[in-house]
């Protein structure tokens, strides 16, 4: 585990005082836990979520959204985090994808061909052209944390997919190779950063 490696490095370098070995015993490990049973998405909705999210972030030399179990994160959020309206909007949005797929291709999204699926998702993506990020300083940013499931369905879906993937261990450690403890600070270094273990 990366954090343990990093801690071992700190210990080896004499940076840390002696620490109890069960320091991180309270960690629950990756969320959701292995063997997670879906609580909100039904099998068809789940298949649709898996197919859509994997098309947004596919497997390359690292696993994609499916491998990172983004669908299970989405289920956790829909079950425990979303309010009734947000949950209904999300599920209605999923049904809307099938509706469009049926109108265009005469079948549900999961039954459409890969090319048909990509075509439909690209059209949805282009229809909700993104807004640029705005940066503020000081703790006065209007609360965005609670609005993750607000807005157009595809914006919400892409947002939660990207968030679920890059905050998974696969996205964070394998895909982006981010380190929790960089160990040093430099104003600027050349890209790509050679990240040392």
């Amino acid at each position: 585990m990366q954090r343990r490696d990093a801690l071992r490095l700190l210990l080896a370098g004499g940076v840390l005082p002696a620490l109890p070995t069960d320091l991180f015993a309270f960690f629950n490990g990756a969320h959701p836990a292995e063997g997670y049973a879906l609580r909100t998405l039904n099998p068809h909705q789940n298949d649709t979520v898996v197919a859509m999210s994997e098309l947004i972030i596919p497997e390359t030399d690292t696993p994609g959204a499916r491998g990172a179990r983004v669908n299970e994160f989405i289920d956790v959020i829909l079950t425990e985090w979303a309010n009734d309206e947000e949950r209904q909007n999300f599920l209605a949005g999923l049904a809307g994808v099938d509706k469009q797929s049926n109108e265009l291709f005469g079948k549900n999204f999961t039954d459409a061909s890969p090319l048909q699926q990509v075509t439909l998702l690209r059209a949805m993506d282009e229809a909700v052209a993104g807004r640029p990020r705005r940066m503020r300083h000081g703790n006065t940013i209007p609360e965005e944390r609670d609005k993750q499931l607000r807005g157009e369905f595809f914006t919400v879906f892409k947002g939660i997919t990207v968030h679920g993937y890059y905050t998974s261990e696969i996205g964070f450690s394998k895909e982006l190779k981010m380190k929790i403890i960089p160990g040093a600070q430099h104003g600027c270094v050349p890209l790509p950063v050679e990240k040392k273990a």
Binding site: I57, G64, W81, D125, R136, N139, H163, L176, V189
Partner: protein, 561 residues
């Protein structure tokens, strides 16, 4: 009971309580620290290395529960989050009221270490521009001290705490005893040069931060995980838990009692001294009394004042030591919410390394050498440069392999900064106790009356205009200007309500943070502030505390207390 008697009692274990504990115990006083909240065990409670994928909601927070129990605290969205909300109070247990349409956001941390666990660590000295301001402007009362009185104490606390920074030789922002500065990134360096070229009255410097850039007094250098407010297992930033409380512990004269909610002080009208403290045990809810020879109120600005207001006697019906009528008045905070950001060109082949827990600082330039027509006093900017990461890319167009691969490379360089503006001490901004509304321990709560005045609003406009202009002059594109003045309190720099002054008729404390009307009572936290300056106040609280402790012990030895 004899075991309830100490030489000194300190209320609170945050920045000032920790300093008072270190100073008084090192000077040999048998000292009791009363902390309202629980103990913190760093190995168990610090969460700075918890990966985001171990959080159930991946940083989106347990929204419904938090909206219920911490609606005020979670306004500090960057720190009261899914990781570290436990370092902020439960709003249901700690109620208060503010006026309709005049919200005040009161942010509190009740645990051993107080808010020193989550503080922003920015550490700046005041100058005589600040200490002389009230006198020159004819506002409120004059500070009873000047820079020369506090300068050696800044030296003293900086040498212990460890402040990294760059000396710049500015009269309005005196240099300190700095550890090596952290590095600015490429766009920050470009901006610093642009500022120096385009303006003769302003510079940009790296933030002066209570984070160690090398080993210091047995504490490790920062390892740049970048999220200090979640704790620090290597004790690399200054907090009571990381620094002052362990020093106090070493003396053998130190006792700390968590779960000790102070109700009020006991005043003896014969001796004119505080003789004890009434405590409610937070767990058993039983009342207990502790006695001492000298008392330090370090409970945080509004909590310290609340204790004094709740310590009324027949002689002091409006709060202990309040013959002046100023106790509770002249509440201040820094106003934020104005600034600008933009995209910076160049350096596409470069990226910052390490999560620097610090930003850049543009020191005050208004009303330093020249005079503004629209407002008095001034402001400083804090901010920084960075490259967009994956979260910014979520709103970009694209899906599939190309989209995924594009997120491996960081996006645009951006630079932005927001102002921290000085707020004037208005008598009409005040707190009073509400005897009908009690907290979870049966203690009367505060009614807070606070709003910004015309000076703050005029300054806020200038903050956003100047920010945008400086960015434009530095070649920034896609400039985003904002001006939405913050809710008072949200600066978490609440100050005043028991001000220092020269005259007992118009102030609560003297030049040594000693109550005019109870010589063995000291109040060195933010409540003592006579004006607010525009820089982050904690370093000044540290210096005032160490100075007040030195005075208190010398007075104790002379039998003057």
């Amino acid at each position: 009971m004899a075991t309830n008697t100490y030489d000194a009692i300190i209320v609170g274990s945050g920045i000032t309580g920790g300093w008072a504990a270190k100073e008084l115990t090192e000077k040999g006083l048998n000292t009791l620290v009363l902390e309202a909240g629980r103990s913190i065990v760093p190995e168990k409670d610090y969460v700075e290395h918890v990966p985001v994928y171990d959080l159930k909601y991946r940083g989106w927070d347990n929204r419904a529960e938090r909206q219920r129990t911490q609606p005020v605290q979670r306004e500090v969205f960057y720190a009261c989050d899914e990781y570290s909300n436990k370092f902020f109070v439960n709003d249901l247990e700690n109620p208060y009221t503010s006026d309709p349409g005049k919200k005040f956001s009161w942010i509190r941390g009740r645990q051993v270490g107080g808010k020193s666990i989550t503080w922003g660590r920015q550490s700046y000295r005041w100058s005589d521009l600040d200490f002389e301001a009230n006198l020159k402007d004819g506002i409120a009362v004059d500070w009873p001290i000047r820079y020369a009185d506090i300068a050696p104490w800044y030296d003293y606390v900086e040498e212990f705490a460890g402040i990294s920074g760059q000396a710049e030789g500015l009269p309005q922002l005196p240099d300190g005893k700095f550890l090596p500065p952290m590095e600015m990134n490429c766009v920050e360096q470009d901006f610093r040069e642009s500022l120096t070229k385009n303006y003769d009255d302003r510079i940009m410097t790296i933030g002066r931060s209570a984070v160690l850039t090398r080993v210091h007094k047995g504490r490790a250098a920062c390892h740049y995980c970048g999220v200090c407010h979640r704790g620090c297992i290597t004790s690399s930033y200054f907090s009571s838990l990381n620094s002052t409380l362990p020093a106090a512990e070493k003396t053998g004269h130190f006792t700390i009692r968590p779960y000790s909610v102070v109700h009020s002080l006991i005043f003896d009208p014969q001796t004119r001294r505080v003789t004890g403290v009434r405590v409610i045990d937070a767990q058993s809810k039983k009342a207990i009394e502790f006695k001492a020879r000298v008392f330090f109120l370090c409970a945080s600005t509004l909590e310290s004042t609340r204790i004094l207001l709740n310590s009324a006697t027949p002689e002091f019906p409006n709060g202990l030591g309040n013959s002046s009528g100023e106790l509770g008045h002249n509440l201040m905070d820094h106003h934020m919410g104005a600034g600008a950001g933009g995209e910076m060109a160049g350096h596409e082949d470069k990226i910052p390394f390490g999560n620097r827990p610090n930003g850049i600082y543009i020191p005050r330039f208004r009303n330093v050498k020249t005079k503004q027509k629209e407002f008095i006093r001034g402001y400083g900017y804090q901010g920084g440069g960075s490259r967009d990461g994956w979260s910014a890319a979520a709103s970009k167009i694209g899906i599939g392999i190309d989209f995924k691969n594009s997120l491996k490379t960081p996006g645009s360089w951006r630079l932005g900064f927001g102002g921290f503006g000085e707020c004037l001490p208005y008598h009409s901004n005040y707190v009073e106790v509400d005897k009908d509304k009690l907290d979870a321990w049966g203690i009367p709560t505060l009614k807070i009356h606070c709003e910004w005045g015309a000076n703050e609003h005029a300054m806020s406009k200038d903050i956003s205009v100047q920010a945008a202009e400086m960015l434009a002059n530095a070649g920034a594109r896609d400039i985003f200007v904002y001006q939405d003045i913050s809710t008072p309190g949200l600066g978490i720099h609440e100050m005043g309500t028991a001000r220092m002054g020269r005259d007992p008729k118009t102030s609560v404390l003297n030049e040594h943070n000693q109550a005019h009307e109870a010589k063995n009572l000291f109040l060195p936290d933010g409540a003592c502030m006579t004006s607010a300056a525009c820089v982050n106040p904690s370093l000044t609280y540290m210096a005032l505390t160490a100075r007040a402790c030195d005075f208190a012990v010398s007075e104790l030895k002379k039998n003057n207390l």
